[in-house]
Amino acid sequence: MSENTAGPAPGTPAIELRGVSKTFGDGERAVHAVDDVSLTIRAGEIFGVIGYSGAGKSTLVRLVNALETVTAGSVVVEGTDLTGLPERRLRGVRARIGMIFQQFNLLTSRTVAGNVAYPLKVARWSKEERTARVAELLDFVGLADKAKAYPRQLSGGQKQRVGIARALATSPTILLADEATSALDPETTRDVLALLRRVNAELGLTIVVITHEMDVVRSLCDRVAVMEHGKVVEVGDVYDVFSAPSADAAQRFVGTSMHDRPSPDALARLRERHPGRLVTVGVREGASSGTELFRLLREHEVDGSVVFGGISEVGQRPFGSITVELVAPDERIATFLAALREHADVVDLGTAARPVDDPRALRAASDPQGERPGPDDDGPGDLYGTARDDVIRDGNLRNFGGA
């Protein structure tokens, strides 16, 4: 497929949001869909915006292509400040930004080729140019044989590929994907994500991905912003957000995608089967935790068996953790853990007799409102509840003889 028109050099700002707010309605009924958001999205990156429904992420992305206009702040797209531009100019900006949708939004009255040709008609391409371009695009998305089909004859994945072809038609430099895989089954989702990755790698488009699925962020995005109640509560490299999420919402989203750490229920079952000391060891790219774990087990003569865990990829880099049961006298375990902590992120879960909870597993399991389980919840031990935070902080020192 032909090269896109030159966008800004990779790494330079493609989209800048400066103190952007969007309020719907006024007075008592005003809804602050987007509330004072500042973000810079770099040219050539795949940027994720994740949040629960109603977090304001869909409104945010519509501010970028001026389907909505800001209430306050400014939106700068490739150097053009959209604030206050007349509708005519905004139409020009929109035509340079592709967009795909959760429900695909194909024109049911037109064929696949007709749908892909539509933006080219808007851009006043000649019929010959349109025909050639449509063929090229359908080839790119692998639907050359469906040119004459109508959308209703296609599967969800095919419809979204038509949507992508249509969004790419006028060679935009930016692609906005609004929950583009949320209506698709897991396998089709993988295909569409792979296609988006190709769009980014081969055509160099900057892609902004709106989603509520952390798996999409994990497998596709370079950087991510976590939104809650109209605000960006966390932003950073996907890997960093996964390995050290700080905002509550970020921790919950990571918990929905990574299942390597035992949930409280799973932990309770583990403790029934494995009465010894349980620790969760984080595995990171570059860190030597994997090899060090086994070397130190030998060195300190601690018996270790893997009882839970998972290591997969975040942003195509290894990430995860394993939970091991340690069997040895308390003092040996303590010195072993002290040595291991120099190489890896270790969470001590205690023993079946003296349990300690994993703070991250608990956050991930709690509900979207961030309410933690109260004292009445039937936890695995009597330390559950109000005293829990103290236990986590002091647990290793006080209960297990120092680290």
């Binding site: 139409r91 900006v93 539509y118 209703r152």
Partner: protein, 220 residues
């Protein structure tokens, strides 16, 4: 009886022609004006493409005022305007004017209702591609709603045919007038039945055509 029908057939044929003329012209002029009015109602509705509270409010109220007026009263109410526009208040031409006006108002609601069914996402997609409002109206709204619009116009044809039955009130002729004058008033029920049969055949043919067309353009 036979002698009766030899004079009646030409009269029926003439009435048929008058009805066809009235309905066709009313549907063309009123149908197009109603399409415009219906589109205006739809796009100015709050939250839509060209949302405009004032314009929508005025159009909505006007349509709501005109539509419930019984047509037989509307024809006489509109008399002075008809006189200005057509030059007379009698005859087929004079009847076509109020018929077209009422058709326009009736069409507007049917058009609006059919447009409401369009997925707003499709309109948003077109906006995202940089399409102007006018382009969206002509290349998205109308084509996407074409099948229900065709069925709506089929329905309208029958409603207009119904309204045209009272053309005789101002000397407009037509099938309704024929049935009343030569059938009802002369106690010739056969004439009424034959006229009704003709009307039923017209309705059947138009409905069949409408269904056929709607199915042809429906790709969903």
């Amino acid at each position: 009886m036979n002698r009766d029908w030899s004079t009646l057939w030409p009269l029926l044929w003439e009435a048929f022609g008058q009805t066809l003329q009235m309905v066709t012209i009313a549907l063309l002029t009123g149908g197009i004006a109603g399409l415009a009015l219906g589109l205006a109602l739809y796009v100015t509705r709050p939250g839509n493409l060209l949302a405009n509270k004032a314009v929508f409010g005025v159009l909505n109220v006007v349509v709501n005022i005109v539509r419930p007026i019984p047509f037989i009263i509307f024809v006489t109410l509109l008399g002075p305007v008809t006189l200005q526009v057509v030059g007379t208040t009698l005859g087929t031409e004079a009847f076509i004017f109020p018929l077209s006006v009422m058709t326009a108002f009736g069409t507007s609601r049917i058009v609006e209702q059919n447009l409401v069914g369009i997925d707003p996402g499709v309109v948003e997609a077109a906006r995202a591609m940089g399409a102007s409002s006018w382009r969206i109206i002509t290349t998205v709204l109308v084509p996407e709603a074409l099948a229900p619009l065709i069925l709506g116009y089929t329905f309208l044809f029958i409603a207009v045919l119904d309204m045209s039955a009272i053309a005789g009130l101002i000397g407009g002729g037509g099938l309704g007038d024929f049935a009343l004058r030569y059938g009802y008033q002369r106690y010739n029920w056969m004439v009424v039945l034959v006229t009704v049969a003709v009307i039923i055949v017209i309705v059947q043919v138009v409905q069949w055509l409408g269904n056929l067309l709607a199915r042809k353009v429906l790709h969903r």
